[in-house]
Structures are given as structure tokens and as C-alpha cells.
């Protein structure tokens, strides 16, 4: 197959992903809510809502394009080994903070994050560190923040959420470490 042909099939796969079942489910919900808005509130409110939706989209798209480029760059710059190296620490606040940052910088969805946790768990990594990592990833994962939160909710909202949450993974990790110590049996019997 030629390079061009390969690109074409790839594009087709992407479009299939883009316009898959979940897209049509959403389109259905959108149509239904649009019809409901028209019937309940009348054409004036419907038009205003439609206008607002389109205006919001116009605001989102330039942000989204930039955010996706940022996400692509971070994915390239931060390697898996780099992340794993940050998770070697044990039971200190700085180890937990490092784990949180590693979680926030982990590219990819839940598959990548939980696979790494599973690997490190069998390798005997500190429980608190792993919980701080998982919580950092869930709360502050850069990919979700960049691809969803900043474009749709805005940078000011994102900043406020970051400030409100950045201590939570450390607290969660510390709590997890204490609980594991309380219920711990000899380390061989995990």
C-alpha cells in the first residue's frame, strides 16, 4: 500500500472513532434537548441558546487546538521511564509530591496509568506513593485538563481547581501509608 493509501485508511479509522455510537447518542440528546427547548420556551429562547452554544464553540476551538499541541509535546517529552523513576521514593512528603507530579504528567488514559501502578505494585513500591500517584493522575492529569477543562471551562476555572486540589494527592498518599502500616502484615505476605 502506498503512503498516501495508508494515510487514507488511518483517516478513515479516525473518522469511524469520531462518529461512533457515542457521537450519535450525543447527537440524539442534543436534538432532543433542542426540540424540547423550542417547544417549551419558544423560538426566541431557542435561537438565543443556539447562538450561545455556537459562540461558546467558537471560543473553545482555538483553545482546544493549542491545548492539543501542548498535550502532544508533553507526551513526547515525558517518557514512561522518567515517570517510573519518580515513583521510587518511600514514605516522605517529597516522595508523595513527586508521585503526584508524575501522575499529573502521565500521558495516556486510564490504561497507561493503571498498568504502571500494577507493575510498580508487584515490584513492591510504597502504597502511599502509589495512591498519591493515582490521585494525582485522576485529579490533575494534564491530558484531561488540557483537552477538556481549559477549552470548555476556561483557564481561570482550571487554575482555581488546581490550587484547591494540589494538596489532596499528598494527603491521600499519607493517609494511605498510615492505613497500610496499621493493617500491615509482614511485607512478604502481601
Amino acid at each position: 500500500m502506498s503512503a498516501f493509501g495508508r494515510r487514507l485508511t488511518f483517516l478513515k479509522t479516525l473518522l469511524k472513532l469520531a462518529f461512533g455510537p457515542s457521537f450519535f447518542l450525543f447527537a440524539l440528546v442534543t436534538t432532543a434537548s433542542g426540540v424540547a427547548a423550542y417547544l417549551i420556551k419558544g423560538p426566541v429562547v431557542f435561537n438565543a441558546a443556539l447562538g450561545q452554544g455556537v459562540e461558546r464553540l467558537g471560543a473553545i476551538l482555538p483553545r482546544l487546538a493549542g491545548a492539543l499541541l501542548v498535550a502532544g509535546c508533553v507526551r513526547v517529552l515525558v517518557s514512561k521511564e522518567f515517570i517510573a523513576r519518580w515513583l521510587g521514593g518511600r514514605s516522605s512528603i517529597s516522595a508523595l509530591a513527586l508521585a503526584e507530579v508524575a501522575g499529573a504528567l502521565t500521558p495516556g488514559g486510564p490504561v497507561a496509568a493503571f498498568a504502571l501502578i500494577a507493575t510498580l505494585q508487584t515490584a513492591g513500591a510504597d502504597r502511599g506513593v502509589l495512591v498519591a500517584y493515582a490521585t494525582g493522575w485522576a485529579l490533575l492529569g494534564f491530558q484531561r485538563i488540557l483537552m477538556w477543562e481549559v477549552p470548555l471551562l476556561g483557564a481561570d476555572f482550571m487554575a482555581m481547581r488546581l490550587v484547591s486540589s494540589f494538596l489532596l494527592p499528598i494527603l491521600a498518599g499519607e493517609a494511605a501509608r498510615r492505613i497500610s502500616l496499621l493493617v500491615s502484615r509482614p511485607p512478604t505476605a502481601t
Binding site: L15, L17, S22, L57, S164, A176
Partner: protein, 165 residues
């Protein structure tokens, strides 16, 4: 409108700096970063478009007064509790949760309540726990993580109250 332009400008500045870094340090992977962005854009834009339209339509149908009363800025701790519970039971990924947050905001929910909502969804997203977490890391880790994170949405919401004020 100027906020929109400013935040877009900020993101593009960051993107340029990072692109330059990739170009200087990992020259061979520049196209990888760009094609990631391109692929994701193709997948995301149609969904975001319909989701945002739905959020705008639903915002005019839902009883705004009710939402403001339950999870408005003045709803305080009870409002944080309600929005945390709501966030914890959202079935699905960001394509559902984030437009829901946009909807809540335009229907009059308070910023701390929306933060509690997103935090709860991030931590407790049911589909993610069942599909990825339990199968990969086992119930022991999952239970530990969930129990230590139980107060997180409320803490985040309270911290946000401190910031808003």
C-alpha cells in the same frame, strides 16, 4: 470576549515554547506531537460540538432557580455534599462530565460546588474503576484509594470557598 482571546493566546504561547523544546531536544518526534494533536482534534471536535450545544439547550430547560438553590454559591457545605454525590455517580468520561459542569455553571451553580463535582467524578468515576482499576490493580488497592479519597471533593470545595472569598 477579551478573556477568551487572552486564554487562547496563553495556551498558544505555551504550545510554541513546548514545540520549540521538542524541536530542539527530540527533533525526530516533532511530527509525532503534531499528529497526536491532529488525531485527537478529529475525534474530539464533533463530540465537543454536540455536547456544548446540548449543554446550551438543557441550560434553558432546567429549572435554574432549583439548581441555584441546591448547589448555588450560597448553598454552602450542603451544596458541596450534593454536588460531590452527583459527581460520583456521573456515568462516563470527560465528554459527559465536563459539559455537565458547563451546564451547571450556566444554570447558576457555585464555583466551589462545580469543583467538588469535578473532583468527585475524577476520583470515583465508576466506569473507570470497573473497567480499568479493578482488573489491573485489584480490589485491595482500589478500596484503599477510594477510602482515603472520600473527603477529597469536600476539601477541594472548601478550599475553593477560601479562594473565591
Amino acid at each position: 470576549m477579551s478573556v477568551v482571546i487572552l486564554s487562547a493566546l496563553g495556551i498558544w504561547c505555551l504550545a510554541s515554547v513546548l514545540m520549540l523544546t521538542v524541536w530542539r531536544r527530540r527533533r525526530g518526534q516533532t511530527s509525532e506531537a503534531v499528529s497526536f494533536a491532529f488525531e485527537q482534534a478529529i475525534i474530539l471536535v464533533p463530540r465537543i460540538a454536540v455536547a456544548m450545544l446540548a449543554a446550551s439547550f438543557i441550560a434553558v430547560i432546567v429549572p435554574t432557580a432549583l439548581i441555584a438553590a441546591w448547589v448555588g454559591h450560597g448553598s454552602g457545605f450542603v451544596g458541596l455534599l450534593i454536588s460531590s454525590l452527583a459527581g460520583a455517580i456521573v456515568p462516563g468520561g470527560p465528554v459527559i462530565a465536563i459539559p455537565l459542569a458547563v451546564l451547571l455553571r450556566s444554570a447558576g451553580a457555585g464555583i466551589p460546588q462545580i469543583i467538588a463535582f469535578i473532583t468527585a467524578w475524577s476520583i470515583f468515576a465508576m466506569h473507570r474503576i470497573i473497567i480499568y482499576e479493578l482488573t489491573n490493580v485489584g480490589w485491595r488497592f482500589t478500596v484503599l484509594r477510594l477510602s482515603v479519597c472520600l473527603p477529597a471533593p469536600l476539601l477541594a470545595g472548601m478550599a475553593a470557598y477560601g479562594l473565591v472569598r
